[in-house]
Structure formats: structure tokens, C-alpha cells
């Protein structure tokens, strides 16, 4: 499959690979996907409790090149954003940025879910009221 240069670049040089301490109060962890489906994404954020700004993000992904690129891009995008700004990121933004082929749109949906799941986890830990739709299951 012919991928865009951006997908190839994220695949070859994935940004923000790693693991944050999931037991820390300021860390939110989102684990989405399933091994049987061929992709699992784990996205983690570290949120500044004073400002609600995402100061760090890490990911690990089992999946195809598009899944790796989508999650890598998601970590880049959420960093420096407030929780509410990060929640505004949609899968179509990811599709557009990476020029994903139609068969790979699923990967972008997964990345959006991973952002929302990580934020949802952080909110739960910190007793933050749910203001927007989070952790969409499908």
C-alpha cells in the first residue's frame, strides 16, 4: 500500500514512544483496540493540575503503519493543549493530516478514541466532571 510521506515519517521516526507511570494522579491512560483486530493503542497524558495543560504524552501501538502514525501524531497534537482543546481533536483531522487511505480511516478513529480514553481516565482519577463526551465505545 502506498502511504503518504507523513505516515512513513511517523512510522520511521515515531514521536513520543514510551510509558508514563499510570498510577500517578496526573497521568491519564487510554488503552483502545483489541489484539484480534490487529491494533491496540495505548496513549498516556500527563496533565498539569494547575493549568489543565497536557505537558507530556506517550504512546505505544501494536498495529499497522497507519495506526502507528495516527497515535504518534495524536501525542504530538495533544502536547501543550488543555484538556478541552485536546478533546476537540477529531479523527478527520488525523485522516487529513496523514492523508490516510479509506481502508485505514479506522486507525484515525482509534487514535481519537485513545485521546478521549486517556482524558477520561485522568478525569476519573481527579474527580473532574465530565464536560464532553468521552471514552466512546464502539
Amino acid at each position: 500500500m502506498a502511504y503518504s510521506d507523513k505516515v512513513v515519517d511517523h512510522y520511521n521516526h515515531p514521536r513520543n514512544v514510551g510509558t508514563l507511570d499510570k498510577s500517578a494522579a496526573e497521568v491519564g491512560t487510554g488503552l483502545v483496540g483489541a489484539p484480534e483486530c490487529g491494533d491496540v493503542m495505548r496513549l498516556q497524558i500527563r496533565v498539569n493540575p494547575e493549568t489543565n495543560v497536557i505537558e507530556d504524552a506517550k504512546f505505544k501501538t501494536f498495529g499497522c503503519g497507519s495506526a502507528i502514525a495516527s497515535s504518534s501524531l495524536a501525542t504530538e497534537w495533544v502536547k501543550g493543549k488543555t484538556i478541552d482543546e485536546a478533546l476537540a481533536i477529531t479523527n478527520t483531522d488525523i485522516v487529513k493530516e496523514l492523508a490516510l487511505p479509506p481502508v485505514k480511516i479506522h486507525c484515525s478513529v482509534l487514535a481519537e478514541d485513545a485521546i478521549r480514553a486517556a482524558i477520561g481516565d485522568w478525569k476519573k482519577k481527579n474527580n473532574v466532571a465530565e464536560t464532553a463526551a468521552v471514552a466512546v465505545a464502539h
Binding site: N12, R15, A34, G63
Partner: protein, 426 residues
């Protein structure tokens, strides 16, 4: 951007050191899909694109006679490789047509005797789709399961045969996992029960000894491009004695090939197929030994360097050039992306429109997750030790890097049981 890169420290694939001696890129290691043509085959074919252009069916002039002579020579070369006689070889456009002709032709011819066909779940689509079509026409088809090692259970076959069974179609060697079925025993069983036995031997002919007498085969499909011959030409062996098998033609017009397959013969292709069979007959034994050694060497390298890898398919009954390996916790397509100067195949169909993992691997009982993590290496006549070293080192490198990226690998290393996690199915 360079900051971001140093931030994660993971680099999956980068053109790096100079290539080792004897290696040029890209490397072809997908010899189950097709094989490069042997230059000797091309040499044999060339005159038939020019000077010797006659129609083999033209019986009244020298142009036709020359073409016919070349075709008859090829018939003998093919027959010799599989222990048949020249008269039992019918030319087709390839193995897909051979399989269609065999299965539909037998089903139609023996309809009054019965309507039951037996095959197995790990067949090529050329057999499975043909059987599915026949089901729509009122035939009953039993799809035998395979065991975890890819072999069918002969007891299952015995039980499946009933008084309406007219045909058993079981492939000789599997194109994905390289497993060789107990063909002689299957054939014996069929003959005892008076059932015709067809085998799709496309991956076996020319690679391992195939003998239609010893193996009790009645009808056999083979193809040129899997044995270093040309594409677009194949053959069907149809037994003439004990029993005499009849096949209802599927293409009409002129009654070529004993009335079983009409159409002007592809003389250059047929000449190439014949030459390919002759070379295979002479070199198969040594080549199989060489490929098997390379294959085992490659397998040992993977097993030494990586944890959570395993081979798919019974290794005792296995094509010498095949290695189907699961690199668990790494997804196949992302692995292929990291080795994009090497041609191999992924058990994950993530690159296709369906996204479904291989039905052959699933038939072995592999979970979808492991099927998504599997790679087929197909070694052939022109692969070298230097290539095997390059490919295995590169795969080991990319698998290791992708595992640094894999949440599953990290979880397993931490002792988490992945089956206990409630995955959000999507």
C-alpha cells in the same frame, strides 16, 4: 522535528550501512506467489515467439507440425516429472483454470453417480470458490478441518466419504504454511472407495517428488510460473487407466486437448512449462536440500534472537523453501513496512480491503492476533545465503524495534495476561 525524534529515541527503519557482498536490493523472497523465470526456460521459449509460430492444430503443413512437435515434447517433459504419460497431460492457462476444469468437469460428468465433494478448509481460493459455486448448483461439499499442524486427519476423511461422494480434492502442499498432506494415503483411501482424487499440486510439483502412480492421484493441477517457468500456462493431469477419469469440458470450441479444453495452444508458454519441468526434474533433489538448509538456518536465527516467535505448520511434512513464522506482539503489515526492500508476505491481510487475517492460519487454531503477526518467507532457486542473512538480520532488527513500540509486548513482559483484559472490540 528532530527534537521530537530524539524525544522518543525509536527509529524503525533507516537506510544504513553498505550492503553486504552478494546482496542487491530489493530481495525477492516470495517464491510461493510466483518465481522468477529461469533463463534456460526463456532460451527454450524464444524461437516460438518468432520463427516457429505455427498453430499446433494445423495438421496440413510444416508450420503446424513444428509447433505440434514442440507441444508434444513439452507434454513428455511434464509427464516425466510426475510419473504420468504424455497423453494424460492437458494444457490450460494456469492452475486456477486447471482446478476449475477438474472440479467442475468431474462434478458435471459424474453427477448421476452422486453430488458430494470433499475438500479442506485450507485449500486455495481456486478450489474453495469453485466448490462454493457448485454448492449453489445443488452439490454438497464437505470442508474438512485441519489439525493444529495443518494436516488433515485421515479418519475425518474416511468418515466424510459416503455413497454420494464423487470427488475428493486435497492440495498437495499448502501455499501459505508449506504443509504437505499425506497424499498417497488419501489417494489410496479414495481408490478403495471408488472416489476420484484430485490434487492442486501447484506448490509441490518441481519442489518435492510427486508421482501420480505412487501417490494414487487421478487428477492433478500444476502451473508454470511456480516452477521458474512462464505465467499464463498450466496443465492438468487426467488419469487414463485404473480408473479412466472423464472430465466434462468447460470451454467449448474446436475440441482441442482430447475435447477437454478447447482453445489454440499457447505454444511458447507450453514449451517454457516443459523446459521448466525438465530442469526441475534434474535439479530438484539438490535444490530442495539447499533450500531446506537455508530455511532451517533462518528459523534458527529468529529463534535465537527473538522471544515469542513460532513456526506455523508441521515441520516434518513441509516444503523445503517455506517458513511461516509468527512474530507475536508485532503486527505483520507494520513489519513489512520496515523491511520494504524485501518481498515477503504477511498473514495479516491488513493491506487488502477486507482487513481479515489469513483463513489458513486461522484454520490451524491461531488467534486473529497471532495470525496478524505472521510472515511467510518463500525461498527459491535464486536466493542465496547472503540474502538469507540480510533478510533475517533486518527482520530481527525491525521486530525488536516494533516491540519497543508494542503495548502488548510491554504488558506481557510485565506479566500481564492479555487474555484477561477486556478489550474494547471495534
Amino acid at each position: 522535528m528532530s527534537n521530537e525524534m530524539s524525544n522518543s529515541g525509536v527509529v524503525i527503519s533507516e537506510s544504513s550501512a553498505p550492503l553486504p557482498a552478494g546482496v542487491t536490493l530489493p530481495i525477492y523472497m516470495d517464491n510461493h506467489a510466483t518465481t522468477p523465470m529461469d533463463p534456460r526456460v526463456l532460451d527454450a521459449m524464444l524461437p516460438y515467439f518468432g520463427k516457429v509460430f505455427g498453430n499446433a492444430a494445423s495438421r496440413n503443413h510444416v508450420f503446424g507440425w513444428e509447433a505440434e512437435q514442440a507441444v508434444e515434447k513439452a507434454r513428455e517433459q511434464i509427464a516425466k516429472l510426475i510419473g504420468a504419460t504424455a497423453k494424460e497431460i492437458i494444457f490450460t492457462s494456469g492452475a486456477t483454470e486447471s482446478n476449475n476444469l477438474a472440479i467442475k468437469g468431474i462434478a458435471e460428468m459424474y453427477r448421476e453417480r452422486g453430488n458430494h465433494i470433499i475438500t479442506q478448509v485450507t485449500e486455495h481460493k481456486a478450489v474453495l470458490d469453485t466448490c462454493k459455486k457448485l454448492e449453489k448448483q445443488g452439490y454438497r461439499v464437505t470442508y474438512l478441518p485441519v489439525q493444529a499442524d495443518g494436516l488433515i486427519d485421515l479418519e475425518d476423511l474416511k468418515r466424510a466419504i459416503d455413497d454420494k461422494t464423487i470427488l475428493v480434492s486435497i492440495m498437495y502442499a499448502n501455499n501459505e504454511i508449506g504443509v504437505i498432506q499425506p497424499i498417497a494415503e488419501i489417494g489410496k483411501l479414495c481408490h478403495e472407495k471408488g472416489v476420484i482424487f484430485h490434487t492442486d499440486a501447484v506448490q509441490a510439483v518441481g519442489k518435492i517428488p510427486v508421482d501420480v502412480q505412487k501417490d494414487n492421484i487421478d487428477v492433478l493441477s500444476l502451473s508454470g510460473h511456480k516452477i521458474y517457468g512462464p505465467k499464463g500456462v498450466g496443465a492438468l493431469y487426467v488419469r487414463r487407466r485404473n480408473p479412466r477419469v472423464q472430465i466434462s469440458e468447460q470451454i467449448n470450441g474446436g475440441g482441442h486437448e482430447r475435447g477437454m479444453r478447447s482453445g489454440t495452444l499457447n505454444v511458447p508458454g507450453i514449451v517454457g512449462l516443459g523446459a521448466a519441468c525438465e530442469i526441475a526434474g534434474q535439479e530438484m533433489e539438490a535444490e530442495a536440500k539447499r533450500e531446506k538448509e537455508l530455511r532451517d538456518y533462518m528459523k534458527a536465527k529468529f529463534e535465537k534472537a527473538l522471544d515469542y516467535v513460532h513456526v506455523n505448520g508441521n515441520m516434518e511434512h513441509h516444503l523445503p523453501g517455506n517458513l511461516n513464522m509468527s512474530f507475536v506482539y508485532v503486527e505483520g503489515e507494520s513489519l513489512l513496512m520496515g523491511i520494504n526492500d524485501i518481498a515477503v508476505s504477511s498473514g495479516s491481510a491488513c493491506t487488502s480491503a477486507t482487513l481479515e487475517p489469513s483463513y489458513v492460519l486461522k484454520a490451524l487454531g491461531l488467534g486473529d492476533d497471532v495470525a496478524h503477526s505472521s510472515i511467510r518467507f518463500g525461498l527459491g532457486r535464486f536466493n542465496t545465503k547472503a540474502e538469507v542473512d540480510y533478510v533475517s538480520d533486518k527482520v530481527i532488527d525491525v521486530v525488536s524495534k516494533l516491540r519497543e513500540l508494542s503495548p502488548l509486548y510491554e504488558m506481557v513482559k510485565e506479566g500481564i495476561d492479555l487474555t484477561k483484559i477486556e478489550w474494547a472490540a471495534h
